[in-house]
């Protein structure tokens, strides 16, 4: 990076807000997908929207690629730096600006964590609905970029259903209000496009979210089954009965074992556990919960454990939400996959995944949002065994093929990022992808805003999608990735 530019950035944002020492840059090499790494040229931590604008203007003028970063919890390499580029960390934009209980609105800066919003409004009896597993640490700006979901999105929807308005710095450095806290702003839904665009269209500097009144009652049960298909039948019957649970989650034996080892939720020994949660007015929950309980027993649950109190309920959720990280207890390495299938195809696809596990010899734990068909297979491997990492990568790709063949998607909530862009042609035609690029160019004609994410780039010959592996050409120092 040109020393002149670094000096300019320091003048704009303050000396302590610009990092360019190699040891300082290490933190920013990757997000929560650690096998994709890239050192940025410089990291800037602006403290205001005006400073973000100033940094983006410098990038636009100098033709420097820039990547916005929240708290780095993304699972698809969406915040992976670009070689020679700038990382704009929004960590210092972390103020809660306005809490408007009568209108159920909270205005925050993008570095505020997801859970902080709920913390702020909980005393008044409100909460912010989207609840990704990382909600204690992930930023709301990152949630907007990824259109984050969570266990309760079956009933309550995703980030896009709860964000009303954002302020964003466009790739030319101008500031725009997109969306509106007032309903029915005339015109196309640009906000709906921006949410989930993975930081490729603009840098969000302010977010207005809708908060919800806390439901009067929440009831949760944990049912143990001796097969995934029996648990799947229970889910189908719950849906067919016209019940929309707040959450329907499943974990298989390997995931249960891992969760037990890590956080001891005291799950029953079973092939599959099903977690069902209902919320709402007490008489409604009471009546529907009795129906769910009877469906679980009728479909062959060996035990049905009803959370007796809030502590019990939280213990069940702790077991579920810890499942990813817990995989580390049962396997030296693991790869988290995120695919979606139509809910009715779950038994078929899970059967194929089990067969794949047996055929490949790699353990695959399954944790999934059964209500909406969002699978999170956890592929276990041991990097120290030659060839296993490559095998895990192939297995992960194979699972995505099953999802697409079943009419589903390559990602339900983790995003495409840098990790899955190579899989996009499996879901979308060349024309579809070309029009995505046109839409992106409408915001960012210079192609500087988080380049190399979401859309496949012309690949080096022999490059395969999946976890990053150094290409022989790169190893030889003959090429680098952009």
């Amino acid at each position: 990076m040109d020393e002149r530019i670094v000096r300019e950035l320091r003048a704009l944002c303050g000396a302590s807000a610009v990092l360019d020492e190699p040891v300082q840059l290490l933190t920013y090499e990757c997000d929560a997908l650690p096998h994709l790494r890239q050192t940025p040229a410089v990291v800037v931590l602006p403290a205001s929207a005006e400073q973000v604008q100033a940094v983006v203007r410098v990038c636009a003028r100098e033709g420097l690629p820039f990547v916005a970063r929240g708290h780095g919890t993304g699972l698809s390499g969406g915040a992976l730096p670009v070689p020679g580029g700038v990382v704009i960390s929004l960590a210092r934009l972390n103020r809660v600006l306005e809490i408007d209980i009568p209108n159920r609105l909270v205005t925050v800066e993008p570095g505020v964590t997801n859970l902080e919003i709920t913390r702020q409004v909980a005393p008044a009896g409100y909460y912010y609905a989207p609840d990704p597993s990382s909600q204690q640490v992930c930023s709301i700006g990152g949630n907007v970029a990824e259109n984050s979901g969570g266990a309760h999105c079956l009933k309550y929807g995703f980030t896009v259903h709860h964000v009303l308005e954002v302020e964003a710095v466009l790739p030319d450095g101008s500031l725009a209000r997109i969306g509106s806290r007032l309903a029915d702003e005339p015109g196309p839904d640009v906000l709906g496009l921006l949410v989930g665009s993975e930081g490729t269209l603009a840098v969000v500097t302010k977010v207005v979210v809708r908060i919800l009144r806390r439901p009067e009652t929440v009831q949760t049960l944990l049912a143990a089954y001796d097969s995934i298909s029996a648990a799947g039948t229970a889910v189908s019957e719950i849906i067919a009965a016209g019940i929309v649970p707040a959450a329907v989650e499943m974990m298989d034996a390997l995931a249960i074992k891992a969760a037990e080892a890590a956080v001891h939720p005291n799950f029953p020994p079973a092939d599959t556990v099903l977690i069902v949660e209902l919320d709402g007015p007490a008489p409604e929950v009471r009546e529907l919960f009795a129906m769910v309980e009877s469906i679980c027993r009728r479909t062959g649950a060996s035990t049905v454990e009803v959370a007796a109190d809030e502590a019990h309920r939280l213990r069940i959720w702790k077991g579920r939400k810890a499942a990813f990280a817990a995989m580390g207890r049962v396997s030296p390495n693991y790869y988290v996959q995120d695919g979606v299938v139509p809910r009715t195809k779950l038994p078929e696809v899970l059967g194929r995944i089990r067969a794949l596990s047996e055929r490949s010899g790699l353990g695959i734990g399954n944790v999934f949002h059964a209500g909406d068909g969002n699978l999170h297979p956890l592929i276990c491997y041991d990097e120290s065994i030659p060839g296993q990492a490559d095998l895990a990568e192939q297995v992960a790709g194979e699972i995505l093929t099953y999802c697409v063949e079943a009419g589903g998607s390559i990602t339900g909530e983790h995003g495409v990022g840098a990790d899955k862009k190579g899989y996009m042609p499996r879901m979308f035609s060349d024309d579809d992808l070309d029009v995505f690029q046109q839409v992106r160019d409408a915001f960012d004609p210079q192609r500087l805003c988080n380049p190399g994410k979401v859309l496949p780039t012309p690949r080096l010959c022999g490059e395969v999608p999946g976890p990053y592996r150094e290409h022989p050409v790169e190893r030889a120092g003959l090429a680098e990735r952009f």
Binding site: N147, E284, R440
Partner: protein
């Protein structure tokens, strides 16, 4: 079939805002639709996409229309995946037909349009909604996939058929509310909901708008979960009346419990409506702004300003009728005003003043003269919206200047 062979001369039945288009195309496939649009783009023909034809008088007045592309021929596709709670439908399918089909399997697309003949494409293009948006949002919130025909002749898709999916840009949301100014919708995929087992509505009538506003606050602060929560204000020369409508839908016992709880909370004069009476009350509420003569404007407000909104309505009558039907918690509604154009134009200007409690004031229905005099949309499109229009419709042929972009 060549593009020319697909065209027929327009007739008064094809009119857009009273203007007969020179030609009409009725493509039966997405590819044919895109081919017609591409030919129109080359010829720079002012083009309007037409669905059920229920909102053709909306927007800025139209001078001339070269081509109307009817989506009627895209009205056969209807795939209901009831086990997955999703459906894929052609743009030309009427919303009412879709819901009749879904109801056979106990499901629905919970959107209540005031227009019986509205097509799914038209519903999306205008982001049409009614009282059910209180619980379910607007069509954009239920849309999970889309196929579009573009003016460059291509047919593209975004999203998919699964309810959870973040792969690619959400072009479906982008075209929602675009009034056909970016692309033609070929088909759309929605997530569905189970039809409720039971439903009942509490109507509360007030003689004092402040009492209504206080009740609205009390209900919103509680933990009851209505399916719909509406306000009606109908001011006639005989005097204004204000009502709240609160609908609960769930299991029968839970509905009864919530009706009782709401009745205990509300200070207005309440009546519980069930079955046919309930259905009629909601049909009337949805139709209220549109039935009868007058200008219709859409406006929005912060829910906490409801009392101020009602006070504003008081100033708008000028001797004519003033009717509001709206969503209490969303803060949105339609206002119908009767009388000559001049005082109505002044009333719209007052509603748009900086100090006004309402925003996003759009003149939806009005005479051509009024729509020529008053800025229909009330605001210029945003920079990104303009850039997107240029990217997707570079020849600028779509929507014949009706707006909003």
């Amino acid at each position: 079939m060549t593009v020319a062979e697909q065209l027929r001369p327009g007739t008064p039945a094809d009119a857009v805002d009273g203007v007969t288009p020179r030609f009409v195309a009725e493509p039966t496939t997405g590819a044919a639709c895109a081919a017609v649009l591409a030919a129109a783009a080359v010829a720079r023909h002012a083009t309007v996409i037409r669905g059920g034809g229920t909102k053709m008088g909306w927007g800025r007045p139209v001078e001339a229309v070269d081509l109307a592309v009817s989506t009627t021929g895209l009205g056969d596709l209807l795939v209901h995946r009831d086990g997955d709670l999703t459906a894929t439908v052609g743009a030309g399918v009427p919303l009412s037909r879709l819901n009749t089909t879904l109801a056979a399997r106990g499901q629905w697309l919970p959107v209540d349009s005031a227009f019986a003949a509205t097509s799914v494409g038209g519903m999306l293009a205008t982001n049409d909604s009614g009282p059910l948006r209180h619980r379910f949002g607007t069509p954009r919130d239920l849309l999970i996939g889309i196929t579009l025909a573009l003016t460059d002749g291509r047919v593209v898709k975004a999203g998919g058929t699964v309810v959870k999916n973040v792969a690619g840009y959400d072009l479906g949301k982008l075209v929602t509310g675009s009034y056909g100014a970016l692309a033609a919708i070929v088909d759309a995929t929605f997530k569905l909901l189970p039809l409720p087992h039971a439903s009942a509505t509490l109507r509360a009538v007030y003689n004092d708008p402040a009492a209504l506003a206080a009740d609205a606050v009390a209900l919103a602060a509680g933990q009851l979960e209505p399916l719909a929560f509406d306000i009606r204000a109908s001011g006639t020369p005989e005097g204004p009346r204000w009502s709240l409508f609160v609908r609960f839908a769930s299991s029968p016992a839970a509905v009864s419990f919530q009706i009782d709880a709401a009745r205990a909370l509300l200070r207005g004069d309440t009546t519980a409506l069930r079955d046919g009476m309930e259905a009629r009350a909601w049909a009337e509420q949805v139709a209220l702004p549109w039935d009868g003569e007058g200008v219709v404007m859409r406006c929005s407000w912060l829910p906490s300003r409801l009392a101020d909104v009602l006070a504003l309505l008081d100033t708008m009558g000028e001797g004519g009728e003033v009717v509001l039907a709206g969503r209490v918690a969303t803060g949105s509604g339609l206002v119908r005003l009767t009388g000559p154009d001049a005082p109505i134009a002044a009333a719209i200007a007052r509603a748009r003043a900086a100090s006004s409690p309402v925003g996003h004031v759009v003149l939806v229905r009005g005479s051509r003269a009024l729509r020529a005099q008053v800025d229909v949309w009330g605001a210029a499109p945003s920079t990104p919206a303009v850039a997107l229009k240029r990217a997707l419709d570079p020849a600028g042929i779509l929507n014949a200047g009706r707006g909003p972009i």
